[in-house]
């Protein structure tokens, strides 16, 4: 019985830790979706780029991945702004038969990024061998006669806490600063925001940059605990949009809850059904959300707010 409880709790812990990082990935996508109604299917590829930046900083200059948080996300911010300004903005103005040209465009950008990475860095698996990679805190160190053993991996926990910190900083930015308020205004009603003197075009560019920087930060947090290879991007793009749909398009709080739900659900599937089935669980929860809860978790939050 204790063993079963131990497995369950350990799975729950790793699910929450994973979920926190997922939330950060989902946040960037939901921000872009909310403000610009753009599906960014190159989100994971941007994270892959950030991970390569962190990897090379570590390999060449021995800069700790957590320190790269100060370098990679700003670079990604610039890259995101560049993509939005030179590629996505022009397509939004083009007249075409298909309404979703912009989605296909981001797929094209993703293909270019992924394959450039393959050309330059080969498709080998890479990782940053940090000293603390296998360090962990054990329950038995603090509670001698504990009937079961739980452990808390050091890099996972640090990454999780940093993700929480970044999320809080983002919330503060959106809620308190002028730029943040302008971004939220653009998300709510583009025309009204423009009439109130918000530079909507600039906000779009900034938002795409911000979304890229967030996923770039997630990349830096992932690299101490995850392997790096060029096609990892598409996998995380899928994860990001599952979180976005699960949370409710454009909802920040929804993305956080969506990330946590997905992280826990995936850990549970991996433990109780099988490693290989975790991605199926991911998509099953996605389809279930589409069918039964089209507004995502955010719609539940809103409903509650109204009845109160």
């Amino acid at each position: 019985m204790w063993v079963q409880l131990e497995v369950f709790l350990q799975t729950l812990i790793s699910g929450v830790l994973l979920g926190g990082l997922y939330a950060l990935i989902g946040l960037g996508m939901t921000l872009i979706l909310g403000v610009m109604k753009i599906i960014n299917l190159t989100h994971g590829q941007l994270m892959m780029v950030a991970m390569y930046v962190a990897y090379w900083l570590f390999t060449l200059f021995h800069i700790d991945p957590y320190v790269s948080l100060l370098i990679a996300p700003p670079l990604l911010f610039l890259l995101g702004m560049f993509l939005q300004k030179t590629l996505i903005n022009p397509v939004l103005r083009v007249e075409s038969i298909l309404p979703h040209n912009q989605v296909i465009l981001t797929v094209g950008i993703g293909m270019v990024l992924q394959n450039l990475a393959t050309i330059f860095f080969t498709s080998d698996y890479k990782s940053t061998p940090v000293d603390y990679a296998t360090d962990a805190w054990y329950l038995s160190d603090y509670w001698k006669d504990a009937p079961f053993e739980l452990s808390l991996s050091y890099p996972w926990t640090v990454s999780f806490l940093l993700a929480v910190g970044i999320t809080t900083a983002l919330w503060f930015f959106l809620a308190k600063t002028d730029t943040g308020k302008s971004i939220r205004a653009t998300a709510q009603d583009r025309d009204a925001a423009a009439l109130m003197g918000v530079n909507v075009g600039l906000m779009r560019v900034i938002t795409f940059g911000l979304g890229s920087a967030l996923v770039g930060a997630a990349g830096c947090l992932f690299i101490p605990i995850y392997y790096l290879f060029p096609s990892l991007g598409s996998q995380f793009t899928l994860i990001a949009f599952v979180i976005t749909i699960l949370g409710g398009l454009g909802s920040t709080m929804g993305a956080i809850l969506g990330g946590l739900i997905l992280g826990i659900f995936e850990s549970m599937t991996a433990t109780y059904v099988g490693m290989g089935w975790a991605p199926v669980g991911r998509f099953a929860i996605f389809v279930a959300a589409l069918v039964f809860l089209p507004g995502g978790v955010a719609s539940l939050l809103k409903r509650k707010a109204v009845t109160k």
């Binding site: 038969i97 040209n101 950008i109 270019v112 089935w277 998509f283 389809v287 589409l290």
Partner: protein, 312 residues
């Protein structure tokens, strides 16, 4: 004259193998025709009905697996994959339609993408049935390419005819009405869900044929290949985007360009498997400058060349 163009092309294609083309050229021709079929099928749903699907690999792979599994488990010819795939693919399309066709715009795009991936991961994990990532290998029927050429040419001719028939029927006009403005179409009494389901099912079954042919022709499949998001779903979209959205010849032109381009790039030194970089660049350029594809935007293209000529 224009009315007979498809027949003339078909007749010309039918005599091509008699010229004694090399096995390599035949291989390229077969790939071009196969991708034309996938493109035409996608175009029916994406181009005419306006439902952009990122999950057509689901049907392609299902068709391929129907052929492969029949041969592997039941010991019958993999050619039975064609009739066998119809009920399986159609049923999958109907279930998929039930879930995704109520969704609009970005939701639809994302849902199809997810369903395609679900199929891949399921095929990878149902190892008892599919052998998972080991894949399935079958005995190919012919050593020579000519037989395969005529089979896929027949499928392509049939597909062209079905798409043309549908697009020019009352249903075809309903499809376009739904694409242009679903709410307006519904207010005029068009049952949008019904017609979208029809377009999806026909599109899916044809894509399944393409997959069933792939199994017979290649003799080997695994989930990573036939359910691939990049190599199947997105390549199908690219064939249509490059060639021409909602045109009869667009997918054919697109398939010619994509297959030849892939061959040329792959043969370049230092590029190797990273040929998709140039595909990505091509996709970006096409979307920005010719959003309706080479055939769809031929007027723009003609104007561009005229202007250049005038400047010289």
């Amino acid at each position: 004259m224009k009315r007979f163009a498809p027949l003339i092309v078909l007749a010309a294609m039918a005599v091509l193998p008699l010229l004694g083309l090399s096995s390599y050229v035949m291989h390229l021709l077969i790939l071009v025709i196969m991708w034309s079929v996938s493109g035409m099928a996608w175009n029916l749903l994406g181009g005419y009905t306006g439902q952009v699907s990122f999950g057509h690999a689901a049907f392609f792979g299902l068709g391929a697996y129907c052929a492969g599994l029949a041969s592997f488990h039941l010991n019958i010819s993999a050619w039975y994959g064609f009739p066998l795939s119809i009920p399986f693919v159609a049923a999958t399309a109907l279930v998929m339609g039930l879930i995704v066709l109520r969704l609009r715009g970005p939701y639809f795009v994302l849902a199809t993408l997810a369903l395609g991936e679900i199929m891949r991961i399921t095929a990878e994990n149902l190892t008892d049935l599919t052998q998972g990532n080991l894949g399935i290998m079958i005995q190919r029927t012919w050593v020579e390419k000519t037989g395969y050429y005529y089979v896929i040419l027949a499928v392509a001719a049939l597909t062209f005819w079905v798409v043309k028939l549908l697009a020019e029927s009352r249903w075809g006009y309903y499809f376009v009405a739904i694409r242009e403005d679903q709410d307006a179409a519904e207010s005029l009494g068009i049952n949008a869900t019904l017609y979208k389901t029809i377009a999806l099912t026909v599109s899916a079954v044809i894509t399944g044929f393409s997959g069933a042919f792939y199994m017979n022709y290649m003799g080997y499949i695994d989930p990573q290949v036939v359910f691939s998001l990049g190599d199947i779903s997105i390549l199908t979209i690219m064939v249509v985007m490059v060639g021409g959205v909602a045109t009869y010849w667009g997918p054919v032109v697109g398939a010619v360009i994509m297959v030849l381009l892939a061959e040329v790039i792959r043969s370049l030194p230092y590029v190797g498997t990273a040929y998709q970089t140039l595909f990505g660049v091509l996709l970006i350029v096409i979307i920005i400058y010719l959003p309706n594809g080479l055939v769809g935007d031929r007027q723009t293209l003609a104007r561009l060349f005229k202007k250049k000529g005038a400047a010289v």
